[in-house]
Amino acid sequence: MSLLSLRGVTKSFGGLTAVNGLSFDLIAGETVGLLGPNGSGKTTALNLISGYLPVSDGIIALSGETISTIGPERIAHRGVARTFQLVRALPSLSVGENVLAALAFRKAPVWGRQAESHIERLLADVGLAGRAAQPADSLTYIDLKRMELARALASDPQLLLLDEWLAGLNPTELRAGIALITSLRQRGITILLVEHVMDAVRALCTRCIVMNAGSKIADGPTAEVLADAEVIRAYLGDDHA
């Protein structure tokens, strides 16, 4: 059975239709890439799934239950966690408190002394062991991304939405990042990732969905989709197809 399913999902901002009749399914345990040129509606699609934006039309369901009519905090409680395109740390909190914020308000909250070991383990998982007491606003860009991932994982998600989590990393960091996401996949977390780094997409995703101008133009195994003429045209223009 599919974990996530979108049926005819549409989002309009005034006259602009950012997402137009989008339908797809994610099977539990899959890692799927959501690709497309800038402005094709990928981030909007993530925002609709996480409840950051309300849908204009269509239905989003998680494990068969509609989530497109409830707010982001209830969607989070159903097991959807995300990172943001531009890292959104909680700057006045420490690194550990950033993670605690997710532990404390998830469906099965962890709080107090019990939370400390959770925080240490989650930070260690993303390569931030021993950094809990550090102020979040003192972290480097890559470490902020790590912290944001630890925070998303602290919510204990079934479905993880990563919005260009690998963007802006240098080659060494990118390799570490890919290894990290691979380890999450092995834990059985379903991942939908918006990504422009094609090496990462090839390494991580078994399947890709491609959007252009708000609509889905391809959906299938990664190698096939990336060779698809329409996809290449959408990305690179008519001359390359």
Partner: protein, 306 residues
């Protein structure tokens, strides 16, 4: 633990002040406690969320008016209870209406709310009861007001301490930092804000109710004076709104300063107040305690350097 013990000892010592102090110092003590309560209660909500509320005096005045209206009808403890309920109901209504607003809109709304409440009370008094002011004759001396305010301050600090250590306190800080992230982490934003806003407003209402017998005569322009709201904001900002004792420590020197200013420069009082407000926001955006901390860490860091 040591801090708690020190706080309890200080509280016990402060309870003996009326035994030694004359009427004027006792009056100053009441003023400090009153503003200490208001500033601490204000910071409980506005510190972590950074929602600057100018509605303080609306609740303060409602408390005072409740006492003025009901003092002859109900026994005093019951009057306080009714005042707290009035504060709670108004806070819930206002909260549900406004807490979706952010930034400057919230500030303006809360300021407008104070005026609205004042005008409504004035309208009711002029047109229905056909008097503008009311007399409050209660056999409650200044020392009793002092003790009640001291107890309220202790309770307010205890609540603020509990909030800062609890999940709801963390929720408030997360909301203050980034409400979108908060909702994606599962924080119930409206419920959290409404709860803390209501607690804070009920305390403000009680502060007004307890001080009502002191004036003997009250009217809307006295108990709904918007300057009080601004003073509370300055006090909390001066001391540091995100520290337990910050607002109280800001209230002490500023209250004494305002007393002195209003006695000696009654005509220029507002100008000086405005300039002070500007200076505090520019020079000490996180309060004196935070400024002291950063100065201290700068000094000690220098000392370590070879």
């Amino acid at each position: 633990m040591m801090k708690l013990l020190a706080a309890l000892v200080a509280l016990a010592a402060l309870a003996f002040v009326p035994a030694f102090a004359g009427p004027y110092p006792l009056g100053l003590g009441i003023g400090i406690l009153g503003y200490g309560v208001l500033a601490t209660a204000w910071a409980m909500f506005s510190g972590p969320t950074r929602y600057i509320s100018l509605a303080t005096v609306a609740f303060f005045g409602l408390g005072a008016y409740t006492v003025a209206v009901l003092a002859d009808v109900l026994p005093y403890p019951l009057v306080l209870l009714v005042a707290a309920l009035v504060g709670l109901v108004v806070a819930l209504i206002v909260g549900l209406a406004t807490l979706r607003l952010a930034g400057i809109y919230f500030v303006i709304f809360t300021f407008g709310l104070t005026e609205l409440v004042r005008q409504l009370v004035t309208y009711y008094e002029v047109n229905v009861t056909r008097t503008l002011g009311r007399y409050v004759f209660l056999p409650i001396g200044p020392e009793h007001i002092y003790w009640q305010l001291l107890a309220l301050l202790a309770a307010t600090l205890a609540i603020a301490f509990w909030v800062s250590r609890s999940r709801i306190g963390l929720a408030l800080r997360v909301i203050g930092d980034d409400p979108d992230v908060a909702s994606h982490l599962g924080v119930r934003i409206t419920r959290t804000k409404l709860t803390l806003f209501s607690i804070s407003c009920v305390i403000m209402t009680l502060a007004g109710a307890i001080q009502a017998p002191r004036w003997t005569y009250i009217e809307p322009s006295i108990v709904f004076n918007p300057t009080t709201s601004f003073l509370v904001v300055i006090m909390a900002l001066l001391g540091g709104p995100n520290r337990l004792f910050g607002p109280l420590l800001g209230a002490i020197p500023l209250f004494l300063l305002f007393e002195w200013l209003s006695a000696n420069f009654p005509n220029h009082y507002s100008i000086i107040l405005g300039l002070l407000f500007i200076a505090i926001v520019f020079v000490l955006p996180n309060g004196v305690l935070a400024a002291g901390d950063s100065l201290w860490s700068r000094l000690t860091r220098k000392a370590v350097r070879p």
